[in-house]
Amino acid sequence: MSAIIFPAQPEQILKGLGKLWTSLGEEEKHQGRPTVLRACAMTLIVATDEADAGFAASQTISELMHEHPARGIVLAVSPDAENDLQARVLAQCWKPFGKAQQICCEQIEITAKPGNWQNAAPTLAGLTAADLPVIFWCRHQGALKKDASAADRGGLEAIAKLATKLIVDTRGMQAADGIALLLKWKGEGKLVADLEWTRLTQWREPLAHIFDNAALENSLSGFHSLEIEHTEDKPGMQALYLAGWLSGPYHAEVTFRKATGYGPDIQRVSFRSDTAVIEFERTSAECVTLWSSTGRERKYSFAEASITALMTEELAVAGYDPAFNAALERARELLE
């Protein structure tokens, strides 16, 4: 671990990383066998405007490294920063159970004084790992807002240009704003992902399994009516995505309804054909129940997925996600 803080010049940071690996390698010399394995499958850039100066983002990165080793870069904002942009480098290491060798990933923390994070893109451009995907996870909610300042938006776009895939969490955003932002990036040829879509996996997976049932197989086109109950005044991103996903292929008629229930977002989904009904409902804070007219009833545990779990799932999708992209397009149509 290195606590040395220096101005965020790419050359200095890369030299810092070099020294870091050299120091980790010293241990190998003493032990006379390989003790450290350097792992990197991508560059993961996380920009955040949270008040903890990037602490939570760093923590999440360290948890993600086990499944998705990466050069992690946290870009945070702090009024306590000594320079406009400053950096430090460290290694995230862990020892897999039963193994003698540590696996280490490098992490760079860049801290900006308020009003300076927007200038980080040229530094980041010099720090991406060669020939591997660059994932940009934007936790900077200020820059994602529709009324973000031109400087914040410019800073966001400059970093987005470096990335092969952009991940945002549109929870709490107006659906129209979230969809517009994602479609804009998609139009620019970027791979996009939304953690609100990732949260739907626990809804989508059981629903998809219903159609494995022999009685319903090949009957999806007959489901012409879809009703989604949600807790917000207007359907949020999750409701729109789910509607887009379920109604997309055959353009089922969609109805949204406001309801009260357990926790935020979607409470109940009802999907109908002339001969069958599927209903999926939150029946307690930690449970959803699925009924189908084939006589099936099953309860599933339901828990709010942690950000680490959502990111782990999202980072596993390295390329184009056809289901999400189709749902996004359909969500836009539904919004209109």
Binding site: P122, G126, D131, L162, G189, A318
Partner: protein, 504 residues
């Protein structure tokens, strides 16, 4: 007494005369390299260095200055006071102006003294590390004072730039050949002395598995990148006249391209290796003036804030004209018209104030014929052509091979992974600097890594049409901000061929 397996190559006794001994190259590269060679006993015990420049200095003053430089600029090696004392006994100095006849007489006298005191056997290696405009005159005067002949061999190392265009390079060659045989001329291109550049030959011709893939059938395109994050660093006046195309592509990078693309030599010796390099350079298609805009892009950096630091644009650098038309970035598409490489684009780019300092060669292989995993790989061209072999020249010398691999878990998800060979960690020992390698080669009479007249001629021929067109073009500079990967036109040049620049 010799043991070629265990002893370093034997280098004969000699004296090295450095013209321009008070210059930056001597201080930063030449003397530290010579000290290191001395430290490692890789040069003869009968050895001497005679520095020469206009600055009046005694031998001792020269030694003191060089001690300061060597201790400061020695790379990855300790400075040993005792070894320095021995080394310093081999350092001498002759003050003089290259245009004055007396200087050569003083030098001759000093050489005679050193030949006796240090038993250098009359062998002399002259190193022209002066302003390029002095090269022809210095060589002419070496001849006039009979310094090109002696009891032993006489060789001349000439630093780049070798001419400022095709005509001046040819003229300089003519002047040199009036005094010296081509065999005694060592045109240095320090890139060829780098371990990884030499390793290209070992990699290609020492292994059986790569060479069968090394052709148009398997290779989609080749990208050579030499990026610097720094600006002109006080060299504004020189750089303003040179530009990136002259400074890097005409010499270093065209030689690197020749090393990557040349045919295997029948024998690994200087003549055969250089023949193949020259042949390759002659096969490079010379772009027509009308096509220059299509195949070449010039750029110049503008000001930017990088890492909280405000960096000036090129035109704001000291000694640079406010309306300078100099290319601080150049990207060129070359085609090699031979059976091996027909229609394979070789993209070469170089520039200052790019995001990081990196030099590498990327061999991009074709995509598999059928995209079985296309759903996962739809995210852009780089993933569509997953196989990439990267020969890293600096800063971390090594080789990487990228390929797709299945992600652990159920389902056939694939993602790019990289298999790396790192020079430092595989061999552990310190690699010699390019100048150490090249100086030893010149002393040993091995010109394999030096450029020959026909190679210089051919490399000027391929850039001359671009220089001519750019010289008559008024560019709308600056066209890229410091800290970015160059102008948009460079991306468009590749897009026209269906390619994208990789991010090194």
């Amino acid at each position: 007494m010799q043991d070629s397996l265990r002893f370093a190559r034997r280098v004969p006794p000699c004296a090295i005369v450095i013209f321009g001994a008070s210059g930056d190259l001597s201080k930063r590269k030449l003397l530290p390299s010579l000290y290191r060679l001395f430290y490692e006993r890789r040069i003869s015990q009968n050895f001497a260095v005679i520095g020469s420049s206009r600055t009046p200095m005694s031998d001792d003053q020269f030694r003191d200055r060089m001690k300061e430089s060597v201790s400061k600029f020695l790379e990855d090696a300790p400075f040993d006071e005792d070894i320095w004392k021995s080394f310093a006994q081999c350092l001498f100095y002759v003050a003089g102006d290259l245009s004055e006849e007396d200087s050569y007489e003083h030098l001759k006298t000093k050489l005679d003294e050193v030949e006796k005191s240090h038993q250098t056997a009359g062998n002399v290696l002259f190193y022209l590390s002066t302003q390029p405009s002095y090269y022809a005159e210095a060589i002419k005067k070496l001849g006039a004072h009979q310094l090109q002949k002696g009891n032993g061999w006489r060789r001349v190392i000439i630093e780049k730039p070798f001419g400022h265009d095709l005509a001046s390079a040819r003229k300089l060659n003519e002047e040199i050949h009036k005094v010296l045989d081509e065999a005694d001329v060592y045109r240095i291109d320090h890139y060829l002395g780098k371990e990884t550049v030499q390793n290209i030959l070992a990699f290609r011709f020492g292994n059986g598995i790569f060479e069968p893939l090394w052709n148009r059938r398997y290779v989609d395109n080749v990208q050579i990148t030499a990026a610097e994050s720094i600006g002109v660093e006080g060299r504004g006046a020189y750089y303003q006249e040179a530009g990136a195309l002259r400074d890097m592509i005409q010499n270093h990078l065209s030689q690197v391209m020749a090393t990557v693309a040349m045919e295997p030599p029948t024998v690994f010796d200087a003549a055969n290796v250089r023949d193949e390099r020259a042949k390759l350079l002659r096969a490079v298609r010379v772009v027509k003036p009308d096509d220059v805009a299509k195949y070449a892009v010039a750029g110049q950096y503008g000001p930017a804030n990088v890492g909280g630091q405000n960096l000036p644009g090129f035109r704001e650098e000291p000694s640079v004209k406010p309306d300078a038309q100099t290319d601080t970035y150049a990207a060129v598409t070359f085609f090699i018209d031979n059976w091996r490489w027909a229609d394979v684009p070789f993209y070469i780019r170089t520039g200052k104030r790019l995001p990081k300092r990196v030099t590498d060669i990327a061999i991009q292989f074709h995509a598999p014929p059928l995209g079985l995993f296309s759903q996962e790989t739809k995210g852009g061209l780089r993933e569509a052509r997953p196989n990439l072999l990267v020969l890293r020249i600096q800063p971390e010398e090594g080789i990487s091979l990228r390929f797709l691999s299945k992600s652990p878990g159920s389902g056939m998800r694939v993602r790019p992974v990289s298999m790396d060979f790192n020079y430092g960690s595989s061999f552990g020992e310190r690699t010699p600097t390019a100048y150490e390698t090249l100086l030893v080669d010149a002393m040993a009479g091995d010109p394999t890594l030096y450029t020959r007249q026909d190679m210089v001629d051919a490399s000027w021929q391929i850039v001359q049409p671009i220089l001519d067109v750019w010289g008559n073009t008024k560019f709308d500079f600056p066209n890229y901000a410091a800290g970015t990967w160059g102008p948009q036109a460079s991306d468009e040049m590749l897009a026209r061929q269906g390619h994208v620049w990789r991010v090194p």
